[in-house]
Amino acid sequence: MLQALNKESLPIPYHQIAMNHCNCPGQHAPNPPDACPAPRLKEDPAPPSGLDFGVITGWEPLNTIASPMVANEHVSFRERLRNLSVRWAYKRHNHRITPGLYSFGAPDGTSPVLVTANYKLTFDKLRSHLSGLQLWILVLDTKGINVWCAAGKGTFGTNELVNRIRSTGLARLVTHRTLILPQLGAPGVAAQTVEKETGFRIKYGPVYARDIPRYLANGMRKTGEMRTVHFTLMERLSVVPVEMIHALRLLIPAILVALLLGFTKPESPIAYPLIVIPGCLLIGTFLFAALLPYLPSRAFSSRGAILGVLWSALVAWLTHTPMSSAWPSALIATSICAYLAMNFTGCSTFTSQKGTEIEVRLSLPWILSGIFAGVLLPVILTILL
């Protein structure tokens, strides 16, 4: 009886969703998905369509409700390549999907509703872990930013969620009143406000998408492990490419400074500054990320400086450069390493604003004086002597 009632009150015939067919207005028989135009939402006149990737099938809006789009768990090779290139900051800004409601598998009125961000990387990660499940996915417009950062900025937020629940007509689609949000969306969403405004109760699901099947099977209960955010070697390395691209902006100035130092001390090998200074861009990003938990000190900048000193010493030893001619380059390399390491706070999962602010205030004067001393002192000394 309940089932029948549900079906009647539902705007979209489920069997058609399950068959991956769409319900274009004015047509009686279901169409193959390709015949349907991609969904257009008012606020997003030309959304980058998932259709390019052959994954997300469009649905025409039915009545006032934007009908669900369809997603599955298969992330194609082309999409994986594209996701990889985004990790290297390539065309990062428009890697997004159309916000709105998606059906996954063959959901019905009792199926769980997951909420996520419209960053394509996030969406692909999520759906690749949902194989075999039947559910609804409500995608918020976070301007192509991942859940955690968007929550911090407030785009994965209370207002967007409330509006999206209303504009998709979710309340008429499902009979239950529970939404599962990613836990890391919590800094942007006040659960009690959403409940007051829409009647939907919020449960914060696991931090990582891979735990969702276990979480659902477990009656929507999280273990302590599912609640905790990590910063494993793989996670640290996955954010390195973007940091390296940022550090590349320093490459040309670094080489110029290295050449300058090489010429002010003509008797010493020019190889030293040319290896140490540009090389520290890699040390301060890649090696720092890899070794983060093993370096002493709590401050990122001093951990980076330690690496910088070790790197300078190693190259000096390998190139037989005496300390008397190595110090300016070593000073600069150490300062750059400290700076790059400090910037890694933004990628990390555990730094507070207060702590980072104090670190910046304490370290920046040292870093800047290190660089100035390394560049200017040898020049002054050459002129004087």
Partner: protein, 95 residues
Amino acid sequence: MKFRFHHNGSSLSLDSGLCTGCRRCVEVCPHAVFSIVKNRAAIVDRASCMECGACALNCAPGALSVVSGVGCAAAIINGMLSGKSPSCDCSASCC
């Protein structure tokens, strides 16, 4: 591996008198800062708190407060240069 950072959690405060023991803070905190002791929330690991603000925003009776913000040096330096408060305005090129 548990990471620590200086001054973490220094602005987090809990008013036990207002707490209803709803467990919401335990549910949202990514660093296991809270635990429920005798039906009330308790701060058990303040030094792990990254001041993300999730607990305070989701605590319905308002028992929790925290000064939240971005723990990103680039944002803070940008804030110093522009004279505004630090914000992640790296136009989606970072996270």
